[in-house]
Symmetry: C2
Subunit: 321 residues, 2 copies
């Protein structure tokens, strides 16, 4: 599926730009378990071209699909790109451009940065998919450049992307934002990581799907059923919102971001998810004046659902790096 | 109590400095519940003079004691100071130099920055005491300038100071580092803040004093008794180290600091505290390969106990601001 943009988007952009020689273009690629989405953007993150193709398994196929779609969106201007950024699941070593353990795509170890750069003749930088989505969502929502922004990705697992003063945080061991494996949920469910009570055993898209099997996607149905008075739904929803607000307090009371973006599949639930989260925040605020001063409910924003957040973010993160 | 340094420490420093005109000096003041400590430092945090006086209650007395000790350490060179930094307990609005609710010193609201600047004729900047201690400890320990450093202050309460790329983090609402009131401790003790299970209900100096009343200070005695096989001590120590490692995982998996400094009164326990914390980390690592990769035990450093960490940090934080 290709956006209805002509095959020379940079030509068009150069025509439109007042100072064409100073304009910067980059390509961002969002590698997912089922599809690969590739966009051409300018330095502000504006999408000039967009291509989506089904993902194929295996490292060679992934590199082939990335190269093909990058060429498609860049047209004749491939060599004018400042950089290609790739956001991918798995364990990502951004510094060396190496990706490990992408189970859904049968990838054990892939030197994506080096191989991609050789094939395309353009620097290819690799980023964790949640971090890339954080950068993309922050840019598309126009969050403040100064101070901290947190992106909570409620996907298969739970992880956060942390941006401070416009810079994505990786941390000392590449574990910045790995809040899903903080073992503090009171239900103490076992986690595949080996701990008990990890936040993501309750508040991730996959976990909600295990806790609530009556609807697909589960979260909108869970909220509807709880609203309708279903006792089981009320109990499950209480667990989930409890863990979501624990996650919010963890980021708010460690880095105190001005904006907390909800992203990932579960965030597509939209406003109803924000509403039930705000109800749990209000319940806690009722007994805690300190929490009231934090005004957490007002900090929530939903990641844009109809825009290529991950691909745009991969491009912008690569431009920043 | 005055350090045996002559009354013109800047004179001496100027004589010793190769490029005297470029040397920067600042004064830092650590306002505590029982004493006020004031130091003259150079831009590296080296202490050139140090004065300690008993703290007197009331805003006017506090300002008077600050001004008096600043003049004492600066000597004739007061007007050559770049800045005076004050670290204080209570709610601190660094931007406006206002301090509120310093219960131990009978201060309701004090415009410390403005009043101090007028009296001294030098800019006076005010900082939260934990943040100031974080900056001081990081400087005195020589932690890396790049990346994140976390300072866990186990004092009356529990709070963290977060430094990223050499910059102290305040956050959007001034709540960066307020991890003590994250309500995730499984014992769910009531907290004066209105929540239940706040981390500081278990892992702060004051909380350990409530949980273990058999020794003073309680933490070294608690560890000794647990080591000797006292069942009650073993149970209390397990609660405390559990909460300490929860606090460590929260900072490690949100901002991923290269160094986690233990400070505050309880950290004066020294190596035995580090040992029991590492034992709890090892217990968790035994079932969780992910946690093993974080190597949290190796990141622990103890804040210097024989140096004026808070006062040095107040000066350096003011220089940075």
């Amino acid at each position: 599926m290709t956006c209805p943009i002509d095959s020379n988007p940079i030509d068009e952009a150069l025509k439109a730009a007042k100072r064409p020689s100073e304009e910067t273009f980059a390509v961002g690629v969002d590698v997912g378990g089922t599809k690969i989405e590739t966009v051409l953007v300018d330095a502000t993150g504006m999408v000039l071209a967009d291509v989506r193709v089904p993902a194929r398994r295996g490292g060679d196929n992934v590199i082939d699909d990335i190269a093909r779609t990058v060429r498609e969106v860049a047209g004749d201007h491939l060599n004018e790109l400042a950089v290609v950024g790739v956001g991918t699941p798995g364990q990502v070593d951004s510094e060396h451009g190496v990706v490990r353990n992408v189970v859904n795509l049968d990838i054990d170890t892939l030197e994506l940065g080096e191989k991609g750069s050789k094939i395309l003749g353009v620097p290819v930088r690799v980023e964790n998919d949640v971090n890339a989505a954080a950068v993309g969502a922050a840019a598309l929502l126009g969050t403040p450049q100064k101070g901290a922004v947190a992106f909570l990705n409620f996907g298969t697992g739970l992880a956060a992307g942390i941006i401070i003063d416009g810079h994505l945080q990786h941390g000392y061991s590449g574990s910045a934002g790995e809040i899903g494996h903080i073992p503090i949920d009171p239900n103490q469910l076992p986690c595949p990581c080996g701990q008990h009570g990890c936040l993501e055993t309750i508040c991730s898209g996959a976990s909600v799907g295990r806790l609530w099997t009556h609807g697909n996607p589960p979260m909108p149905d869970l909220i509807r059923q709880a609203r309708a008075g279903n006792e089981e739904a009320i109990a499950v929803l209480a667990k989930v919102t409890h863990a979501i607000v624990d996650a919010m307090q963890i980021v708010a009371q460690s880095i105190d971001p001005s904006v907390i973006i909800f992203g990932g599949g579960m965030a597509k639930t939209g406003e109803p998810l924000v509403e039930v989260t705000r109800e749990e925040i209000a319940r806690r605020e009722a007994s805690c004046p300190f929490l009231t001063t934090l005004n957490l409910g007002d900090r929530i924003r939903l990641a844009p659902v109809d825009q290529p957040v991950g691909a745009v973010g991969a491009a912008l993160a690569a431009l920043q790096a």
